[in-house]
């Protein structure tokens, strides 16, 4: 089984880092489909918070807004990528 081209992996990582770091700058702040419907139909008030997170709403406390979203994006992408890699590595066929 041939792994992905090194070049394709490098290009992919550059694209992912660009989206993770810059995505929050260009993202629309309008409500998403579900939030919009919840507001229109009047049930948005039912939303409750049952836990706290270190970076709520993709913001890092103490950082200016532009930097905050980029840090959150990079940290999140790194954590998810790492989790998926570890899961895959643990399950991969023993050769």
């Amino acid at each position: 089984m041939i792994p992905l081209d090194r070049r394709a992996i490098a290009v992919g990582i550059v694209i992912i880092v660009a989206i993770a770091a810059g995505g929050s700058l260009v993202a629309s702040s309008s409500p998403d489909g579900l939030e919009r419907v919840a507001t229109d139909l009047g049930f948005e008030g039912r939303a409750a918070t049952s836990h706290t997170s270190p970076m709520p709403d993709y913001t890092v406390a103490g950082l200016p807004p532009t930097l905050s979203g980029a840090v959150a994006g990079l940290v999140g992408a790194g954590v998810v990528g790492g989790l998926a890699l570890v899961a895959g590595r643990l399950l991969a066929k023993r050769t």
Binding site: A8, I9, G33, D40, D57, G76, A84, L85, G88, L91
Partner: protein, 213 residues
């Protein structure tokens, strides 16, 4: 389309949590010692991509935005089981680190935005891919679009079962706005699948990444 806590009633979120945990466990058992090495870097890359892409809300209509789900995309490149685990990593991270989606509703979000694509959308894609060669791109786009619309209908049903909002009006509103958001899903899914297909055409279908069981 992340559900916060409070929108679903305890029986509904509990059932969806169980379904999510059971499906993830099933995928782990099916993949154990059979997952191809080549799928591992793809899982990491696609997981990171889906997380980053989900942060980028795209305006779709007056005062409304939408973002990628990604389930069909990941499943078409690594197969449904590995895609399910990859998508679960996305929602678990969003919930625990970024408070995006409720903790009790985590299973609901995994089922709605993950399994709908990695299993439902993937099966639909397999079906649509049986068509003539010229329709392959259309199949990818269509399966991704339909998954978003079906997911929005599923969320409406869950909200109705929870007694949060009557089915009729929420179904019309959710399906209406998500039939537009689904166009973004279709376009991004097709673009990434074509990008990976150019890099490694022989392994486009995720199933060939898994050794015979």
């Amino acid at each position: 389309m992340h559900l916060p806590d409070g929108f679903l009633s305890p029986p509904v979120w509990a059932a969806l949590d169980l379904l999510a945990v059971g499906t993830i466990a099933g995928c782990v058992l099916r993949l154990k010692n059979t997952l191809a090495d080549a799928a591992v870097p793809r899982m990491g890359m696609l997981g990171a991509f889906v997380f980053a892409a989900q942060m980028v809300n795209v305006p779709v209509a007056a005062g409304t935005s939408g973002h990628l789900l990604g389930g069909v995309l990941v499943a078409s490149l690594v197969g449904p089981e590995a895609a399910t685990l990859t998508m679960a990593a996305v929602f678990i991270t969003q919930c625990l680190l970024f408070q995006d989606g409720g903790l009790l509703a985590l299973g609901a979000n995994v089922v709605n935005m993950g399994l709908s694509g990695t299993i439902g959308g993937w099966l639909l894609l397999r079906l649509l891919r049986m068509g003539p060669a010229w329709s392959r791109d259309l199949a990818v786009f269509g399966a991704a679009w339909f998954t978003v619309v079906a997911t929005s209908a599923l969320v409406s049903v869950e909200l109705a079962l929870s007694g949060t909002v009557p089915l009729g009006p929420s179904l019309i509103a959710m399906v209406g706005v998500h039939s537009v958001i689904g166009l973004v899903e279709g376009a991004v899914t097709l673009a990434v699948v074509r990008f990976v297909a150019r890099a490694r055409p022989a392994t486009l279908d995720g199933t060939v990444l898994q050794v015979a069981r």
